[in-house]
Structures are given as structure tokens and as C-alpha cells.
């Protein structure tokens, strides 16, 4: 953890700017660009600050980076990006991607993403990540040249197919269940929270109506006039206070959303493991059947029914030369298969080891973060009451 990038480099996403440009289909579009600033953390002290490097990136480039990382490091629970579109919106919140509040929250989310990647023991060493932060031009091309897209596409197809694993690793199965539960519970929570926020907003705002009536009423009263005026004023203040309160709550919601998406990433790792396991089993099966075939050919016995067996019975035996050839081919294949299996097994074991390490890491982080989030929620509630 000591040589994590985050220790060596200060990373911020400091600004957001609306841009217009031409997209791939040469049509005009508006998008938001985010300024990434990096500065080396020197241990020199004495007020000597390293110069700040900066470059602009847009959301789609962040997406590209994340896809690359997910494919290249399948055993890592890759930190998620802030949501693509505004979700769990309640009536006052805008679902517009260009809305300044949304852009601001996204800016914070993107910074968070970069910091999390930079703090990850494996991911922070990645060259593409480093150049994402430092290389202005040509980064997209460089990433595409790694050819990760092909891997991604084939992986995607495989992952989406349904398959059954014969001997699933129980830990991963449990983890998958957990990620499913987490996803479902957090999205439920966010939905209800949005509704609660909406209602609370209503309560406060209706109180605002008092303000005007009180001040109008105070006009006809002599003794009560002052009291009514000040009551009206307080009502206005009260009604206005909800805006800030709910804005702060949105940050809390964003923290929860991060873990909602993290759950997805976790699930993805589990699925990849499943896929690996499945491929392993398939390979093993294949190997076993080849070995059997070989044995049969060598000994001339047919243990299992096979079309070949039948045809050879019907149309006569093969010549010994033919048989030898076949056996040789099979033996080669078997050797290949065994090697493959070995490497797959190794791969599998490595995957499991590193995945598990990462998962443990993730769990700790999650626990810590969520606890902090809950605490800050409590703090928010408290400050709301104090108002």
C-alpha cells in the first residue's frame, strides 16, 4: 500500500465545463469536460510545491478507462463511476445531465473514482491509468491498441450466456448472493429515501405559505402585529432551510449509490470466476473423454457407445496404421489438454487468491465507508434538528 499512486500524487477533478463539438457521426453535440489536475507530492517541504499538470477529459473517456481496467484485471473489484444518468430522482431534482447540480455531483464522483483507483495496490500501477492522468493526446488510441475490446467482447458474450458449474466454489456463490442482496437493498433504500425527501420538502415548503398570510394579517392587528410579523419571517426561513438540507443528503445518497455500483462490480468478479470454473470443468471433461477415446483405440474395446464404434463395427475395423495415427493425434491433444488444464487450474487458483484478497480489501473499505456514511447521515439529521 505504501507505493500506491495516491501517496505519490495529488489528484483532483477541479472543474467542469460545457463544450460543444462534433461527434463520431459529425453531428453537433454538447458535453461536459472535466479538468483533471495532478501534482507530484514531494517530500521536500519548505513550501516548495511541484507544478500542477492538467488535462481535460469527458465522461466517455472515464468509461473507456474503466472498461479497460475491468477487462485487464478480471479478479479486481474495479471502483465504479458515478451514474451515467440521474436515477432515484425526486420531484425537485432534475434528471437533466446538463443541470449544474448534477454536473457538480458528477465531478465529485469522478474525482472519487480516480482516487480509489490510485489507492488500489494493483490498479494504480497500470500504465493506461497513469497516462489517462498525464497524457493529453492520443490516449484513446493507445488504449484501443491494447486490443482489450476484443477480449471484452468475447468475455461479455460468455458471461451473458447461461451455464451451470458442477462444483461451484461456495465462497464465490455466497459472495454473489451477497452482492445481489446488497444491490437490491440499496436500490430499495435509495428509492424510499427519494420519496421521503420529496415529502419532507413538501412539509417545509407548505410552511412557507404561512409567511405571507402572517404578514398580511399583522397589518390589521395592533398588539399582535409584531408577533405575527416575526412568526411569518421565521416561517420563511424554515421553508427555505430545506433546500440546503436536502442538497447535503444528496451527497449521502451518492455514497450509497457508489456501493450500489460496487455491488455490481463485485458480482461481475464472481461471474468471471464462475466462467473460469466452468471453462476449467469443460476442459477437464474434454480431457477425460479424449483419454478414454485413446484408451479405447489402444485396447480395441468399446466401453461406451459411440457412433464411431458402431460404424467401425458395421464397416469393418480400421487398419492398425489408421489406428496408430488416431492414437497419436489423440495423445497430442491429450498432452495439450493436460497442459491447458494445468495452466487453467493455476489461473483459477491465482484468480481465486487475488480475487479473494481484493474482496477482503473491498469488504473492509465498504464497512468503513458505509459506517462513515451512516455517521454523517446522523450528523446531518442532527444539524437539521438544530436548525
Amino acid at each position: 500500500m505504501e507505493d500506491c499512486l495516491v501517496k505519490k500524487m495529488e489528484i483532483t477533478v477541479s472543474e467542469a465545463e460545457k463544450r460543444t463539438g462534433r461527434n463520431a457521426m459529425n453531428m453537433q453535440e454538447t458535453y461536459t469536460a472535466y479538468l483533471i489536475e495532478t501534482r507530484a507530492v514531494e517530500s521536500q517541504g519548505e513550501g516548495q510545491c511541484a507544478p500542477v499538470d492538467s488535462l481535460w477529459r469527458r465522461y466517455s473517456e472515464f468509461e473507456l478507462l474503466r472498461n479497460y481496467l475491468t477487462v485487464t484485471y478480471p479478479h479486481v473489484v474495479v471502483p465504479p463511476l458515478p451514474e451515467k444518468r440521474a436515477d432515484f430522482v425526486w420531484h425537485k431534482l432534475s434528471a437533466d445531465n446538463m443541470d449544474p447540480d448534477f454536473v457538480e455531483r458528477r465531478r465529485i464522483g469522478l474525482e472519487n473514482f480516480l482516487l480509489r483507483v490510485a489507492a488500489h495496490p494493483v490498479l494504480c500501477l497500470d500504465k493506461m491509468f497513469y497516462s489517462f492522468l498525464t497524457q493529453e493526446g492520443g490516449w484513446k488510441e493507445m488504449v484501443n491498441e491494447t486490443g482489450f475490446q476484443l477480449k471484452a467482447d468475447s468475455r461479455l458474450k460468455a458471461l451473458n450466456a447461461t451455464f451451470r458449474v458442477k462444483n461451484p466454489d461456495k465462497r464465490f456463490t455466497e459472495l454473489k448472493h451477497y452482492s445481489d442482496e446488497l444491490q437490491s437493498v440499496i436500490s430499495h433504500l435509495l428509492r424510499v429515501r427519494a420519496r421521503v425527501a420529496d415529502r419532507l420538502y413538501g412539509v417545509y415548503k407548505v410552511h412557507g405559505n404561512y409567511g405571507r398570510v402572517f404578514s398580511e394579517w399583522s397589518a390589521i392587528e395592533k398588539e399582535m402585529g409584531d408577533g405575527l410579523q416575526s412568526a411569518g419571517h421565521h416561517m420563511d426561513v424554515y421553508a427555505a432551510s430545506i433546500d440546503d438540507i436536502l442538497e447535503e443528503e444528496e451527497h449521502y445518497a451518492d455514497q450509497l449509490k457508489e456501493y450500489l455500483f460496487y455491488a455490481e462490480a463485485l458480482r461481475a468478479v464472481c461471474r468471471k470466476h464462475e466462467l473460469m470454473q466452468y471453462e476449467l470443468e469443460m476442459a477437464a471433461q474434454d480431457l477425460t473423454s479424449k483419454k478414454q477415446q485413446c484408451e479405447e483405440l489402444a485396447t480395441g474395446t468399446v466401453r461406451t457407445f459411440s457412433l464411431k464404434g458402431m460404424t467401425s463395427k458395421l464397416f469393418g475395423q480400421e487398419t492398425p496404421e489408421q489406428r496408430e495415427a488416431k492414437i497419436r493425434i489423440l495423445e497430442e491433444q491429450i498432452q495439450e489438454g493436460e497442459e491447458q488444464l494445468k495452466s487453467k487450474n493455476l489461473e483459477g487458483r491465482d484468480f481465486v487468491k487475488s480475487a479473494w484478497a481484493d474482496i477482503e480489501r473491498f469488504k473492509e473499505q465498504k464497512n468503513h465507508d458505509l459506517k462513515e456514511a451512516l455517521i454523517s447521515y446522523a450528523v446531518m439529521q442532527i444539524s437539521m434538528c438544530k436548525k
Partner: protein, 414 residues
Amino acid sequence: PLLAAAADVLALDDEEDDLEVFSKDTSLAEVNSLSPSMPISPSSMINQYKFEDEPELRDLFITVDDPESHITAIETFITYRVVTKTSRGEFDSSEYEVRRRYQDFLWLKSKLEEAHPTLIIPPLPEKFIMKGMVERFNDEFIETRRKALHKFLNRIADHPTLTFNEDFKIFLTAQAWELSSHKKQGPGLLSRMGQTVRAVASSVRGGVKNRPEMFTEMNNYMETFSQKIIVLDKIAHRIYKEEREYFNEMKEYGPIHTLWSASEEDIADSLKGVASCIEKCCRATEKRMAGLSEHLLPILHEYVLYSEILMGVLKRRDQIQSEFESKVDVLANKKDLFSEEIGKLEDKVECANNALKVDWDRWKQNMKCDMRSMFTNMAENNLCYYEECLATWESFLASQRVDPHVEEDSEDRP
């Protein structure tokens, strides 16, 4: 001398005898001319007959409770138990318990209006409620009505004039059959008809000509007040509704955290803690709503009704004056300005004006008191709510911070 003595005596604290003196006058003199013939300063009256919160000064205690449903062949109706406790001499007993139905209250109100056209008779709860009512005998409706009827009778009891009204006494003390027979007596119907005829005649005449400044001011005030109080009533109901919706959503919010805690280990306790905090806040919200419905809504509603009543009283006063004015016109042509009739009407106008003036001041005082205590209660209600929520979350926070888990300085922190 009698009047002077009575005035002096009334300026001191009340004792049974003083009140008896006062009430004896009532039974002797004609009801309409009572108030103006007693030069009692309004302020001393107000000091005497302060509002509900000074029970030592009262000698008449009324409660309305125990609604009961009665089913006959023709109809179904509700009766309420009216219990009266008194130390007044003119009551034969010191305790009474009778059963009255809404109709009886209506009767009482109309009798009081008849007897004192320019006094402010407290409002009765409405006959029906327009919106959202399916069944007439919904529990909430009955309870709201019961509370309003209780208020109605107590306001009458506190009123310096109305409290000694004979029909009021009968209402409180008579058995059911006694009441019905009493209701059938008296000018009742005819006088009501006369009232209506006069009202129509007055509007035909085109209303009052020389309305004293004071009453025009009152009118203007009431118009604005009426508007504002109606809006306040609406806002208050809306707030109640919004709080109810908020409460409903909150009820779902807490349990999700508990559900989540089932899948977690390390943060399970924190999650459960949050769930319980939310639950406690839910309960506090319920209390807040109850406070609203007890302290705010009924009072605002009562004053909405009051504003209607006051507009009516002002109209009636105008009527009395316009009757007088038209008589003056008629007789002026006949050059007979000093007829006895005019004298009587003039007196009537003066009485009506004075009665209204005194009662108006009293009503304003009470209104101020009521509003002040209403707002204070609401403020306390809200403070209580926020204090409770604050305490809940603070104790949660304290429990979390003590936890050793939080103390790790994780390098994973972004």
C-alpha cells in the same frame, strides 16, 4: 344606587351574592336592555370573566362527553352527555347530567341569537362536512364534534351575559321531555320569521346610512381577518396532510435498514441503530401530527366559523340601525319626530351598539389569548419534535464514535 353598588361590587372579586344580585337583575329586566343600563367598564368585565385558564373565577363547569348512538324506527342519531357542576344559587342542584343531541344545540344557539342579536354567540360545529365523509357517524367526526360542542357550551358559560340566559340554564338542566316541551313554547317561530322579514325589508331599503365609524372599521377588519383565517385553516390542513404522507414514507424507510443489517456483519449494528433512530423519529412525527390536530386545527376552524358569525352580527346591527333610520325617514315626512316608537328604536340601536362594542372587545381579547396560546403550543410541539429527533441521533452518534472500528486510519480512504 343599586346599579352603582352592583358596579362596585362587580369590580371586586366575585362572590356568590354578587352574582345573585346580578342575576336577579337579569330575571327582572328585559333581556335586550340589560347590558347598556349597567355602566360596567368592559375592562373590569374582562378581568372578571377571564378565559378558561382561570378556573377559580368560574362557578359553572360543563363537560360534554360519552357520545352514544340511538336507533329508532325513523332515524339514527347521536347523543352526548352534558355534565354541569355549579355553585350558583339559581340552580336547584349543584350537579346535573343530561343527554343532548346536535339538534338541541342548534336550538340553543338560535335562542341565544334571538335574545341577543348583537352579541357574539360562539360557533357550533358544522352539520355536515363536505369532503371525505362517507358515514355520518365516523369516529373521528364524532370526536371532533364532541370537542367543538364542549367548547361551545364553555364559551357560553364564560360569557358575562349569555351565561345567565334562561334557555341556557334549561338546556343544561332539563330532562329530555322537559326540554322538548319547553322548546315548543315561546314566540320562537314567529319571532324568527319576524327577524327574517326585517332582514329582507332592510336589504330592500338599501342598508344603513350613517353607520358609526367604529362599526365600519370592525367590518373592514373582519373582512381581512376572515380571508386570512380561512387561508390559515387551509394551510394548516395541508401541512397535516403532508406530514401524514411523510410519516407514511418514513415507516417504510426504517425497516429497510434492518433488512440490510441481516446481510452484513461489521456494520450490522450501525444499520440497526439507524433503523431504530428512524423509528423513533417516526413516533415523534406522529406526536407532532397529534399536536397539530389537537391544538392548531380546531382553533383555526373555530375562528373561521367565528368570522362568519361576526359578519352576521355586524349585519344584524346594521339592520337594527336601518330599521330605525327608515322609521325616522317615514315619520320625518309626517313631522312627528318625537314618537314613542322612534324613542324605542333609538334605544334599541344604542343598546345593540353598546352590546356589540363590549362583546367585540371581549372577543378580540379572547382571540388574542387563543392565538397566542395556539402559537405557543405549536412552537412547543415543534420544538419537542426536533429535540426528540436530535436526542435520538446524538445518542446514535455517540454509540458509533465509541466503537473501536472507527478508529482505524485506513489508507484506503480516498
